[in-house]
């Protein structure tokens, strides 16, 4: 009986203590692609308090406020890179359209309760805005067939991106040995000075070990985490020395490239890519 009272009291005290504004979750994407949109969610628990204000800041600038006592409650301050879709914004969510490079930054949600305490909570997250390449990686310099001891040389280039992409060569789905890889090189784009084209060269002497089932499979993979990954793959058969050089070079016959144009959703992308790969193969 006594213990139960204590428990109740503890609960009541706990209730009192807890009876202050609480920020439950700040749902802000860390990366978004340029030109895209973003939903910023700020979930709070008033815990019985009354909301005085909800403010969104990008860096130290307030661009959105929700003050229930104001009429209208929502107030928007035009801010570079921050295009609020008022229609889709509320006391918990702000929708941003047409993300640009300027949109990158810290986004802070600050919630204040009413007088007298004006209990205030805030939390912020950084949103990165990426420029993704227009196409996938493009490979040049490969032959259709290679004989043993042939020198295999290929260049893989990716159109301008920001940040710089990560290119990687795979031989027979295995990352190429470091001594086979030269580069990467970067070439700043004329039209987007903030972006750069990425180039990575592969060069090695073919041995019999490279030929699996009589063929070498080469792949150039481009990654801009976490939004983008595409690769270009080609298969090259072993040419026999008897009929040496009788086969005309057919560069593109056995090669194809896959484009992963799917944006954003990592989880989706990770699911889809293997499926497509299987289907295509």
């Amino acid at each position: 009986m006594f213990g139960r009272v204590i428990v109740v009291l503890l609960l009541l005290w706990k209730q009192e203590e807890v009876n202050s504004l609480r920020l439950v979750e700040l749902r802000v994407p860390t990366h978004e692609r340029e030109g895209g949109m973003a939903l910023l969610g700020c979930q709070y628990d008033l815990e019985g308090d009354t909301l005085y204000s909800l403010k969104w800041y990008k860096e130290s600038r307030e661009f959105y406020r929700f003050v229930p006592k104001n009429e209208p409650p929502v107030y928007y301050f035009p801010t570079p890179g921050v295009n609020v879709d008022i229609a889709r914004s509320s006391n918990t969510v702000v929708a941003l359209l047409n993300l640009t490079q300027e949109s990158a930054g810290h986004y802070r949600c600050e919630v204040s309760g009413e007088a007298p305490l004006f209990a205030t909570v805030n939390r912020q997250k950084y949103i990165n805005i990426h420029l993704l390449p227009r196409t996938g990686p493009h490979v040049t310099g490969l032959q259709e067939q290679y004989k043993i001891d042939d020198i295999v040389v290929a260049n893989c280039s990716l159109p301008p991106s920001r940040p710089k992409a990560n290119l990687k060569w795979l031989i027979n789905d295995q990352p190429a040995a470091a001594e086979y890889v030269i580069g990467p090189w970067y070439r700043v784009s004329a039209e987007r000075p903030d972006a750069a084209e990425t180039i990575l060269q592969l060069s090695f002497q073919a041995t019999s070990a490279h030929f699996i089932n009589g063929a070498i499979k080469l792949k150039c993979q481009a990654t801009i985490a976490p939004l983008y990954q595409r690769e270009t793959e080609s298969t090259h058969y072993k040419a026999f020395p008897i009929t040496a050089t009788t086969d005309p070079p057919d560069v593109n016959k056995a090669s194809f490239s896959k484009d992963y144009a799917e944006p954003a959703e990592n989880s989706l992308a990770t699911l889809i890519i293997p499926i497509l790969y299987l289907i295509l193969v």
Binding site: F77, A115, A119, T120
Partner: protein
């Protein structure tokens, strides 16, 4: 996360001092004029996101904001002044825990919220500095002044302070040392070395200041420099040009500059004068007043007033005053160093040296012999020079005390007396030699010869001289004692009357001029002198006279009144008194008398001295002769009886006395040379002794005389003097006992010429042969200086004794001899003494 939150938020740094007020600024001014502030919230980073202060003017004017302050943070210590520019959050009584990063959030009506950051640091002031000296004593609690010129080392220590304070030394307002050290133990130290602290630093404030912010007053500790200062000046104020010895002077000395008050001491040369000064101090001045009585020895000495600060070594300064002490000359007299003062004899040259110590100087010496000033006299051999007196060829008159005297403005100084002893051969002590002594034959007379001599040890010898033959007397007749020799001489024959000479001899030599004694045979007394009526009334009469030489025998005096014109003796009065004084009463008035006066001794009556006419006043009364005659015998007999009685008694006493007493006679003989000269001159005129019997006028006297004579004769076996006048009776002489009376000093004026004429002319009694001499002698004698004095014991000789019996030629008569002498009054007390 908080750090991120505040990224890019404008930040200002604000300091507050512990315990003081602080202002946290927050600009709430809207960017646009059409905008308004609605809310200001203050946050502190370390306290999470909860506001600690709110300023709510939603729906309110700015004058009536709704304020709230978190009790767990500032509580009522904070107040937001929104009207200030910039608006500030005022915080009282800042705590150390108030430090931190604050954020103010300003909500505007139309513009974006403004977040401002304030980095608030709380300054903890340091503790109050402590000032130590080199011995680590708290200097501000120490009462120990620095000495002028010393070095001051002070350590200022400051504990605590955040940030660590600057510790700086100031002298008044000037920075003197800003080099401080922050020690690991949290103490900040600045050590000040301040060399040669001086007078100008007295009471200046040395301040150690510890400060770590401009927002609060620095912590300071002040040390007021207390400095012992050396005296700067010392002056003897009353440096008189001269001072007089033995007078009291107040000498003042003033010193300034010493702190604490100077210690003033006085020095005379190198000796300190203690307990003679009084000191008075005021401010940093000290006046010392010395009570100085300069002595003679102080002349030329330096009086020093020394002032020093006892706390500071070698701080003494001095002022000196050379004492010019004036004093009465100090005169020292010495006999010449090569002279032996015990060996100076007459004829020697003597000199004295007088040393004078004087300030101011003296220019002249005055010399004294006894009380008489000595003057330079070349003729007398007295030579005065600057410092000495020379006496050439001294005589014994030069003996005595000599002094020299010097004078200056301070007074006269007389030297010690120096006695000059002049050795000389004996001379007669009193110039009475040649004195007349009467002696009967076989009568022994004692003659005292007293000489002056130096040395006084004198041997004597006597000579006898009559008629030019000089014989040495046998030594058994005289005895000598020092400078006196007594001769007991008994003439037995006429030839043994004469001149006795006494010669003394001492180490210097023999007496040149002997002391002379004239021994004559005893005779009648000389007549009375200067008789006059001293007092006269209706019935009484007093007559006084001066006695004369008694003839060598005791004398009495007789007065007879002879009634005029019958010349009948009416009254007879006798007296032993010396000088004679007669008194008679009960006389009938209106009667005139002639008064006859006599001296009487065993040899007879002297010449008469007459006072011619004395008339008693009142109605003349005629008395018949018979009457007067009838009266006269009664009176005469009474007088005669009394005279006889007296004479008898005296005679008996005299004889008795003579047997026991030694004879002493000191008789002056000042005019011995003169009398000798006269003696020589007169000698041819001196006739052979002529007996001149003077008749007794009064028959009544004769029985008396005879009776006396009889009595004497019985006693002394004398013959009647009337029978043999030239052969005087040997009558005991009492003269030797006669003291020198004042009478002997006074020369009696001789009687007027008229009176003498009368005496000679009218009076039958005047000696026809001696009168001229008498008169002549008197006239001459009158010219003798008054200062001369002598004592005559002459005896009236009536021709018989006119020449000395001892004189072989008989030219020298005693009468002549005594008449050549000045007339002298003998004031003998013989009678009284012998009667006693």
């Amino acid at each position: 996360m908080s750090c991120l939150i505040l990224k890019r938020v404008p930040t200002s740094d604000v300091q507050g001092v512990l315990g003081k007020k602080a202002s946290l600024p927050c600009d709430i001014q809207p960017l646009h004029s059409d905008d308004d502030v609605v809310m200001v919230l203050w946050f502190k980073e370390s306290d999470g996101d909860q506001p600690l202060y709110s300023y709510d003017i939603r729906g309110r004017s700015m004058n009536q904001p709704k304020l709230w302050s978190s009790p767990t943070v500032f509580g009522n210590r904070a107040f937001f002044r929104g009207s200030a520019t910039p608006a500030v959050l005022m915080v009282d009584n800042v705590l150390a825990s108030d430090a931190g990063v604050y954020r103010c959030r300003v909500d505007f009506k139309n513009s974006p919220t403004r977040n401002l950051k304030v980095n608030f640091t709380v300054i903890i002031p340091p503790n109050r500095p402590t000032i130590f000296d080199a011995k680590r004593r708290d200097r501000t609690k120490l009462v120990e002044p620095y000495n002028e010129g010393s070095n001051v080392l002070l350590i200022c220590e400051v504990e605590g302070g955040r940030p660590r304070p600057k510790v700086i030394w100031y002298l008044e307002n000037d920075l003197v040392d800003d080099s401080y050290e922050q020690r690991a133990d949290g103490i900040t130290v600045n050590t000040l070395t301040f060399p040669n602290v001086g007078r100008q630093h007295l009471n200046q404030r040395l301040l150690c200041q510890a400060s770590n912010t401009n927002l609060a007053q620095p912590e300071t500790k002040v040390l007021i420099l207390d400095i012992n200062l050396k005296p700067i000046t010392v002056n003897i104020l009353t440096k008189e040009k001269q001072v007089s010895a033995d007078k009291r002077y107040e000498v003042e000395c003033k010193t300034t500059g010493s702190r604490p008050e100077a210690y003033v001491t006085w020095w005379k040369n190198n000796r300190q004068l203690k307990r003679m000064a009084k000191n008075f101090s005021e401010n940093n001045e000290t006046l010392s007043v010395l009570s100085l009585v300069p002595s003679v020895e102080d002349d030329g000495k330096y009086l020093t007033c020394r002032a020093e600060n006892k706390h500071i070594q070698d701080s003494a300064i001095e002022d000196k005053w050379r004492l010019n002490v004036h004093y009465v000359p100090i005169v020292d007299l010495k006999m010449g160093s090569n002279l032996n003062p015990d060996e100076i004899k007459e004829g020697d040259d003597v000199y004295f040296e007088c040393t004078v110590k004087a300030n101011p100087k003296t220019h002249r010496l005055v010399w004294f012999h006894g009380n008489t000033e000595i003057f330079h006299n070349d003729a007398a051999g007295i030579i005065l020079s600057a410092q000495s007196l020379v006496l050439q060829s001294v005589t014994r008159a030069a003996a005595g005390d000599y002094t020299c005297m010097a004078a200056n403005s301070e007074g006269k100084g007389t030297s010690n007396p120096v006695t000059l002893l002049v050795r000389y051969a004996p001379v007669c002590a009193e110039r009475r030699d040649g004195e007349l002594f009467g002696a009967l034959k076989q009568e022994t007379v004692s003659l005292h010869c007293s000489v002056d001599a130096n040395p006084a040890l004198v041997s004597f010898h006597w000579t006898f001289n009559n008629s030019g033959e000089q014989t040495e007397l046998p030594p058994k007749l005289y005895s000598s004692n020092g400078h006196t020799s007594t001769l007991n001489y008994t003439p037995t024959t006429d030839m043994e009357y004469g001149t006795l000479a006494c010669y003394g001899e001492n180490a210097v030599g023999q007496q040149k001029v002997p002391c002379l004694f004239q021994l004559v045979a005893a005779g009648r007394p000389f007549h009375l002198q200067n008789c006059s009526v001293a007092n006269q009334s209706i019935d009484s009469l007093n007559v006084e006279c001066v006695e004369n030489f008694d003839g060598g025998l005791p004398q009495t005096f007789l007065m007879e009144l002879l009634e005029l014109p019958t010349l009948t003796v009416r009254y007879n009065v006798s007296t032993n008194r010396t000088p004679p004084y007669f008194e008679i009463r009960g006389l009938p008035p209106g009667v005139s008398y002639r008064i006859d006066l006599y001296a009487v001794n065993a040899k007879g009556r002297s010449d008469v001295t007459t006072i011619e006419t004395v008339t008693l006043k009142g109605q003349a009364k005629f008395t018949g002769e018979g009457n007067s005659l009838g009266m006269s015998p009664v009176l005469a007999s009474i007088a005669a009886m009394s005279a006889l009685l007296a004479t008898a008694v005296c005679g008996v006493l005299a004889v008795l006395y003579r047997r026991h007493a030694a004879r002493h006679r000191h008789l002056p003989a000042k005019h011995a040379p003169l009398s000798e000269a006269m003696y020589v001159e007169r000698a041819p005129h001196c006739p052979t002794p002529v007996k001149q019997e003077v008749e007794s006028r009064a028959s009544s006297t004769e029985p008396r005389e005879r009776g006396e004579r009889t009595a004497r004769g019985a006693l002394l076996h004398t013959t009647d003097p009337r029978e043999d006048d030239a052969d005087p009776d040997i009558i005991p002489s009492l003269y030797e006992r006669r003291p020198v009376s004042n009478g002997y000093m006074s020369l009696q004026r001789p009687p007027s010429t008229g009176k003498i004429t009368k005496l000679n002319g009218d009076d039958v009694r005047s000696e026809p042969d001696g009168g001229a001499y008498y008169t002549d002698y008197r006239k001459k004698d009158y010219r003798i200086p008054l200062t001369s004095s002598y004592h005559s014991l002459g005896r009236v000789n009536k021709g018989v004794n006119a020449c000395s019996p001892s004189s072989a030629t008989g030219v020298t008569s005693s009468l002549t001899a005594h008449r050549l002498r000045p007339e002298v009054v003998t004031t003998s007390h013989r009678v009284q003494e012998s009667c006693i």
